[in-house]
């Protein structure tokens, strides 16, 4: 049984803190993904698990063994690297059997295991090829075979698909998932690609600036991001986040054009607080579609700006400010009040058109603007202060 446990792992390079007090508790058999922007410390975290980097502080446990000071070879791990890292001076057989040969397994055992691994990743008949005679996908499969042949307790995968082309990447995702199902080992996977993280993992650990932001199943990270960073990082395109202020009757955006009614006291907010409101593009609807939303907000006036037809959906950039149609570039404040909406491809919406939109109240998030911590996910259950809000809306008109 190989649980992997990081306790207070910290790695400093001089004045730079690459990993800061990282705590991870990974169950046996779990497929966990460390995700974050480049330079966030996810690779360093993995290197401390692999033993390629000694942490400045904290402990790493694999199974029941404190491996913090053990060299990589004694940790019962195998690793697949971003640059594939096949030994160019060895053929496929020698590459795959490298670790077994170092451990003095018998020739028969090595042959059996290598063939078994080659079979799993469909490399049969290629064992005497040299790495430079193979395609990128084949090489990556050799690297995976080299890892699985040792039947390690823990697999570490450091952006293994990053150097493959898009089509192959999608294919290899399924290969990896199938392997995980078959092999019943713990997989720790590092990527900056949130699509990989979402599709493959049991849980995602979102890391930024060396710190763990959230560790949760993919959908939890998506639906209930722990903070503004996770909200922005998970999901493509990103969640809309708008600055605003709490009023007696709810929340209003900086330019006053977006109003959401609720009783702030129920969220522990009081008038004058300045939380950030977040809503994903697919949770913004034109007011014609308001019927299909169970908990719509009131209509919000907007102007369409740029349309991005993606084929399966259209991204619509909405301006919530009143600006002249001829304006080429938006000011910073106007950009902050922009709202991205996703509509179905059969929509007849056009550029520079006045539209009314509604938000799905059950998918609205509030974050503390200073700490970024989530305050609420979904406000459909909060009682609106009906009369007051109507009054104020009318007052604005």
């Amino acid at each position: 049984m190989a649980r992997v446990n990081l306790e207070g792992v910290t790695k400093r390079y001089g004045d730079v803190t690459a990993v800061d007090d990282m705590n991870l508790d990974i169950e046996h058999g779990e497929f966990i993904t460390l995700v974050g922007p480049s330079g966030c410390g996810k690779s360093t975290t993995m290197e401390t698990i692999a033993g390629l980097t000694k942490p400045t502080g904290g402990t790493v446990t694999i199974g029941d063994l404190d491996v913090t000071t053990l060299p990589p070879k004694d940790r019962g791990i195998a690793m697949v690297f971003q640059n594939i890292a096949l030994f160019p001076h060895m053929d496929v057989y020698d590459n795959i059997s490298f670790g077994l040969r170092l451990r003095n397994y018998s020739k028969e055992e090595i042959d059996r295991r290598v063939e078994d691994a080659a079979d799993k990743v469909q490399l049969v008949g290629m064992l005497d090829r040299m790495p430079d005679e193979m395609s990128g996908g084949q090489r990556q499969r050799v690297a995976i075979a080299r890892a699985i042949v040792r039947e390690p307790d823990v697999f570490l995968m450091d952006e293994p698909l990053a150097n493959l082309d898009a089509k192959l990447r999608v294919h290899m995702r399924t290969v990896l998932q199938r392997l995980h199902k078959e092999m019943d080992t713990t997989i720790i996977y590092v990527t900056h690609d949130q699509a990989e993280a979402m599709t493959m993992s049991d849980r995602i650990a979102v890391i930024d600036a060396g710190e763990l932001q959230q560790i949760a199943p993919p959908l939890t990270c998506y639906n209930e991001p722990a903070n503004l960073f996770v909200a922005g990082f998970i999901g493509s395109p990103s969640m809309n986040t708008l600055a605003g202020e709490v009023t007696d009757t709810g929340w209003v955006s900086q330019n006053g054009n977006i109003q959401i009614d609720f009783d702030p006291a129920e969220l522990g907010l009081s008038p004058g607080d300045r939380p950030t409101m977040g809503v994903r593009p697919e949770d913004v609807y034109t007011s014609e579609k308001a019927d299909t939303v169970t908990h719509p907000t009131q209509s919000l006036p907007a102007t369409t700006d740029v349309l991005e037809p993606m084929g399966d959906e259209i991204f619509v950039y909405l301006l919530t400010d009143d600006i002249g149609a001829e304006k080429m570039a938006l000011s910073e404040a106007e950009q902050e009040n922009q709202l991205l909406m996703s509509v179905s491809p059969d929509s007849t919406i056009e550029e520079d058109q006045r539209v009314d939109v509604v938000l799905d109240r059950s998918k609205i998030h509030f974050f503390d603007a200073k700490s970024g911590e989530a305050i609420a996910h979904g406000i459909e259950d909060l009682a609106g202060v009906e009369s007051a809000s109507t009054a104020e809306a009318e007052g604005d008109d």
Partner: protein, 336 residues
Amino acid sequence: MATEQSQRTGGGPRTGGGTLSGVTRWMENLSETGFAYLLLTPALLLLGTIALWPLLSTFRLSLFADSLTGGLGNFAGIQNYVAVLTGQRNALLPAPFLPSSLTVDALFGSALTVTLIFTVVSVFFETIIGFGQALVLNQDFRGRRWVRVAIIIPWAVPIVIQGMLFYLLFQPGIGLFIGREGNPTILQTLGPFSATPLANTVDATLIIIVADIWKTTAFMALLILAGLQSIDRTLYDVARVAGASKWQTFKRITFPLVLPSVLVAMLFRTIQAMRIYGVIETVAGCTTVPSLSCLVISSFNNTLVGTSATIAFITAGIIALVVSVYIFKYAREEMG
């Protein structure tokens, strides 16, 4: 290679025990800095005992007076340096350190000046010829490989054979350039050479310069060639499009871009030329051409240990001066 063995005998995964695996474990757990210094230890130990210690020890020896028994005399401070540099020691030395006058014979007969003359003249010609060879090798033509071999081969000739070759070439009656008595060659009637050039200080110096140019120009050529090949080829396309002639291209693109490589190559050659010893010993002997290194050895052989160390350290000092100019430049580039 303790680690290798421990792995070979170690059996399956995670087996331990025994001193070998203890050592392995200890090495694996060293910090990067500790590991770095551990691996450097053998190299630093060797350089420390066989290079650094002798260098410092030479300096120490230079502070003691000579002793007729070949041992060390009394502590003399910087007296050796004063005596050598002011010429007081010349009477004892096999050859003077500094020339007593500015005549040709005195200049070629004194260690410091003959070494400087040799260095400047040979490095100058090596640079020009080496540049020419580099330009040839930088072209694409059939047989380039063999031309390159031909140009490199003199560089690979052992110094003693280089010496023997020029000893024979300038041997009266045998050598091509020097005739037997009463039958002088053109070089002798028109040119500088006497009847027995190998025994004549000025002639022998010239021969040694030629020998050095013949052997080490290739080194210069290879460094300059590397500089030429690192020039971005697209610059030449730009120049061609702009309508530059070959000469203009050379003057405005090739030369300025290759100049740093040339200067580095000249520096290396200068440092090496200052140590000239072996060819002299083989071609003409240290009494005929008393270079600095020659003087170190011959005064040592005359039991002048302190003086010998002094001259060695002055030689080292002159080279250190040249090296430090380079290091200073290097350090500045590193920072910039």
